[in-house]
Amino acid sequence: MTRYRIIFSGSGGQGLVSAAIILAETAVMHENLEAVQSQSYGAAARGGATRADVIISDGPINLPKVFQPGILICMTQEAYNKFSNLIRPGGLLIVDSKFVKTTQRVDARQVELPLHQTVMDEIGNPVVLNICVLGALIGMCGIVKKSSIEKTLAEKFPPAFMAGNQMALDIGFEMGFEHAE
């Protein structure tokens, strides 16, 4: 039984909860997997660091929260400071190189990607950053097929958004794929 335990973390406006939902929804709707998604709510969410948890598995999932993520994505310094110590030994830590200075030493593979920079350079609109993150994640780790993500995006967004999303997904996927093990 494969089981992915992923935390997306960053700040409120970055759309990381959406990214988490898209990922989990794709697993369930298009890959016949089980997935559970949850997130932090409330004052914690309005101010400081957001966090969205995703567990994906080919068998039933009982616990809905991630305690030790195998994959941790940090899109702000604050998120990195708060969550990086949670990571499972030998896990994967993805950070945006613009926002995060990786200071802590963690027993995990740390990958720093210039996601924000690239999105701004090539698309010029930060709203698709979250899709780019998603692209990088699946480029690096698989989890679900890129085409499945595309299906979900097509279902959830109006056609006008498709081009931007697709570009962001592709950019992210490529950057991630380079770091795939």
């Binding site: 369930v28 997935a35 998604q37 949850s38 409330g42 009982n62 929260k65």
Partner: protein, 382 residues
């Protein structure tokens, strides 16, 4: 994969279950962590030609659904702790007047405003005793979206069958998390439609004279029969009385119609109970962790099982008694100070066999937490 699969929050699953059950009218007031139920229904109900209204508060929401139910609608409201406290007076009115309605309480940390965005199961006893006066009540719960959906449908069925408010006692974790929901085909969960009187216009209709089987056929407001509804003790026509024999009979009826049918409205799931020497009893999101713990311990050879309750009130004493017969240790896993544990103790009869395994810091109890306490209870230290 067809359209019958959805990836949704528990709150959405509840809203979808209500739509499936034939919800006609929803009134509510937003409150974390139940708001998504209203938000989903604000989209779905008008699109189905049905009614959605956001009221000025929880009190009026509860009152409005009772009013709408009387005109022949299937009705629901949803709230959380503070709002549920405010609904208690009108909830008692629905009990007394026997108006079918469904009240969702997605539990958060209490008391008071407490911890609005975190999980708790602290309202279990309030669901039972929150309104003043003797009475009985039905409360259902669920640990996963499939059951959230199903229990929501059953809540409507029970409300209509027994003419009673039914409480759906979910919790923040289940309400907010997203997971798969397979939406049952139309007809695959039987729906109970309201029993309406067959008494013809002009013939005497007794709105509060129970049939032999205890059921009370209704007549919609606006329909053939004009009668009175009151929260005072009332006679078979629905008119106020304080005659001792009528008072006593009505109270007994209100209680018996629930308690005597407990077996028909007891929903549960059993896991590995057959040969279990240790039985966990749990419900709501806590049951997810309990199941996880049970499966891990089974893998290590322990004879442990789980009884997951979907019906909390009327408390399924018989089921609990039967499921724990001959067992050495009963652990009640809940996220409160042991509210249902007391009922389990009374049901099991040997209070010392029963232990509470809980967490009260508004964090989800984990498999680890449970295993740790079990080790101690089994005398194996920490």
């Amino acid at each position: 994969m067809g359209k019958n699969i959805a990836f949704v929050q528990g709150n959405e699953a509840c809203a979808l279950g209500a739509m499936y059950a034939g919800l006609d009218f929803y009134a509510g007031y937003p409150i974390t962590p139940s708001t998504e139920i209203a938000e989903t229904l604000a989209v779905k109900l008008p699109a189905a030609g049905k009614k959605f209204i956001q009221m000025e508060d929880e009190i009026s929401s509860m009152c409005a659904i009772i009013g709408a139910s009387l005109t022949g609608n299937k009705v629901m409201t949803a709230t959380s702790g503070p709002g549920f406290s405010l609904m208690q007076e009108a909830l008692g009115y629905a009990v007394m007047t026997e108006i079918p309605c469904v009240v969702v309480n997605v539990q958060r940390g209490g008391p008071s405003t407490g911890n609005p965005t975190h999980v708790s199961q602290g309202d279990v006893n309030q669901a039972r005793w929150g309104t003043h006066g003797d009475h009985s009540i039905v409360a259902l719960t669920a640990s996963n979206h499939q059951d959230v959906f199903r229990m929501t449908v059953e809540a409507f069925n029970i409300a209509e069958t027994y003419r009673t408010p039914v409480i759906l006692l979910f919790d923040e974790t289940v309400g907010h998390m997203r997971e798969k929901l397979v939406i049952p085909k139309e007809g695959s969960i039987p729906l109970v439609q309201r029993l309406r009187t067959s008494v013809k216009e002009g013939v005497n209709y007794h709105p509060y004279l129970p049939r032999e089987d205890g059921r009370l056929p209704m007549s919609d407001f606006g329909g053939a029969h004009r009668y009175n509804v009151t929260g005072l003790y009332h006679d078979m026509w629905g008119f106020p009385t304080d005659k001792p024999e009528v008072v006593q009979e009505l109270l007994k009826h209100l209680i018996d119609k629930i308690e005597n049918n407990a077996h028909k409205i007891t929903f549960h799931r059993s896991y590995y109970l057959e040969d279990a020497r240790t039985v966990l009893i749990s419900y709501g999101s806590a049951a997810r962790s309990a199941l996880s713990a049970v499966e891990q311990l089974r893998n290590r050879g322990q004879r442990i099982g789980l009884l997951e309750l979907n019906t909390i009130w009327p408390f399924p004493a018989q089921l609990v008694r039967e499921s724990t017969r001959g067992v050495n240790l009963v652990g009640v896993v809940e996220m409160n100070v042991g509210q249902l544990t007391q009922m389990v103790k009374l049901a099991v009869g040997k209070p010392k066999k029963v232990s509470l395994i809980n967490r009260v810091d508004c964090q989800m109890i984990t498999d680890k937490d449970i295993k740790k306490v079990l080790r101690v209870l089994q005398g194996r230290g920490v």
